[in-house]
Symmetry: C2
Subunit: 191 residues, 2 copies
């Protein structure tokens, strides 16, 4: 049973504000793919826009350029193995959804595969073509068209990190399959 509910677009940047590793999903012409990406960031609150680095040699880049859309899914700690696995093989030869038994649904605005089980949130994104930065830095800009999050960990525009939702704590790749999880929090005191 999904606990996902819509995230208001003005709150979408908060989903990746703290630097989680994400899963990028794409689909076109009967093909679909999923890969991990550690390098993404918001670039604008309203309209919500983000930048993400996707290597130009990947099958994902091909599918995104063909369709103009991609999904950004934010895996929880329980998906650490899967996150590392889908980042380590290419989807050009195999369907990673079938290979790894990944359940997904098609985004209502874009048709890209979206993951809910084990994920904290997802976003449907529209590529904003920027040929120079795509070529020079593998950096793709996009506008977030819709977003949703598991209400157990992100509700009313805020992250709620607790012991009882540990499996949804976001992953932050330290390298070589080691992740920090966003499990401990601290609150700054006003100056």
């Amino acid at each position: 049973m999904s606990r996902f509910q819509n995230v208001r677009l003005e709150h979408a940047s908060r989903l990746i504000n703290h630097g989680p590793t994400v899963l990028v999903t794409s689909a076109h012409g009967g093909h679909r793919n999923i890969m991990a990406a550690a390098w993404s960031m918001p670039v604008e609150f309203t309209p919500p826009r983000l930048a993400i680095v996707i290597d130009k040699r990947t099958f994902t880049r091909e599918l995104i350029h063909a369709s103009g859309y991609f999904g950004v899914c934010i895996p929880g700690a329980a998906l650490a193995d899967l996150t590392y696995a889908v980042g380590s093989v290419s989807g050009r030869e195999i369907d990673k959804f079938a290979r790894f038994g990944i359940a997904s649904q098609a985004g209502s605005l874009t048709g890209v595969p979206l993951l809910e089980h084990g994920c904290a949130a997802w976003m449907e994104c529209r590529l904003i073509p920027e040929p120079h930065t795509e070529q020079a830095y593998d950096t793709c800009f996009a506008e977030v068209l819709s977003a949703a999050a598991d209400a157990r960990i992100f509700d009313n525009g805020r992250w709620s990190v607790r012991e009882d939702n540990a499996e949804l704590h976001t992953l932050h790749h330290l390298g070589a399959g080691r992740f920090a999880t966003a499990s401990k929090t601290t609150h700054a005191r006003p100056a």
Copy 2:
């Protein structure tokens, strides 16, 4: 006593791979500044390049454009209050280093202020002028010229997150002064 030691340039991307909030430092013509930035990411391993969002209305953008350089310092958990404070006021009227009692040293390659006390690492960066993305997305690209890290938490190209170095665990801004700290880690099993 500083425990900082040089980080090899091919390992520089790992310093921000996991999405920490950083402090951006800058200096030009007798002025200097420091601000917090949650939105940054590596874009290339070698040469090490990164992208960072710096609002075009900030004093920091002015100083960076004048000098061509900036510093990226990675605060540890003990600097949560400071990180939030320097992100909440403008350096156009006050010198935040004096106001908040921040110790810094001038980078040997660029002259930008670099923080060591309380920080896990720093990088000296050279702006790669990209007028379109700077204007359209406030996104600045840069090459990392040198990097160093506190050997207690980053050594030989790897993060070492332990209970005894908690004050150096990186900060990941969840919003409104709440940070997740990179304190708990998990290791993905190969597929």
